[in-house]
Subunit: 112 residues, 2 copies
Amino acid sequence: MTSKSFLGELEQIALMAVRRLGRNAYGAAIRDEIEGWTGRSLSVSAVYVTLMRLEKKGHVRSWLADPTPVRGGKAKRYFEILPTGVEALQRARATMDRIWADLDTGTEAEVQ
Amino acid sequence: MTSKSFLGELEQIALMAVRRLGRNAYGAAIRDEIEGWTGRSLSVSAVYVTLMRLEKKGHVRSWLADPTPVRGGKAKRYFEILPTGVEALQRARATMDRIWADLDTGTEAEVQ
DNA sequence: CTATAATATTTACTTTGTAAATTTAACTGT
DNA sequence: ACAGTTAAATTTACAAAGTAAATATTATAG
C-alpha cells in the first residue's frame, strides 16, 4: 500500500507497552513488558527497530537521557507515544472489537 | 523465526473472515468481508497468498469446487478454518484482551 | 467465435519482524 | 589505574508477512 495507516502486530504491542510504561519506557523495559504480556521472547533490537520505524511515522517520539551513575549506566533512550499513535491504537482496537462482535453472533452458515 | 505461533495482522483477519463466512468462504467473498470490516482495500491475491500460507501452517484447509454454470463460473476455491486456526485466533484475542485490560488501568506513571 | 465476466494462480516487490554482532558508558575489584 | 563485567543502545543483515500486477482458466453473452 502506498500509505498504510494500519499497524503491524509488534508495532501495536510495542506502542501499547510504551503507553503502559509511561515515563519509564526504554528498550529493555519495553521488551520485558512485551515478554510478560505475550510470552514471546524478543530481542531488544527488535523492539528498537520497530520503535524507530514508528518514530519515523510520527507515532512516537524518543530522546536520549543522561547517563546514570550505575553499573552499565549508559544513556537510555526513552520513548513516548504521540497522539497519532494513540489514535492508531484505538482504531485497531475498535476494528477488532467490531469483528469479534460480529463473529460472536455466529457464522454465516449458522445464521442463514 | 524458528517456530512462531503468532499470527500476522492480515492472517488473523483473514482467518476471522473464513470463520465468519462459513460454507461461503472463497477469495472474493473473503476480500469483501475484510474490506467491509476494516475499510482497507485489498486485492484478492493478497487474500490468497495469505490463506495459502495459513494452509501450509495447518490453520485452514481448502479445496476446489466444481465450476458453476454462471458467467465467469470458474471453479472456486473454498477455505475452512481448522481447530489449530481457531485456537490461534482465540489465543490472539485473549492476549489482546489482557493487554487492553492492563492498559485501561492506567499507565505505570499514573499508577505509582 | 469474439468479447466480457468472475475467478484462481503466479510472480515480484515492499514492509514488518527478528536476532547477532558491535559499540558505549558506567561500575567493581584488585 | 586498568582489566573485567554489566546495562544499555545501535547497526546490519536476513526472514516472514503484506500487497499488487500480470496471467491463466472457465464460463456466459452477444
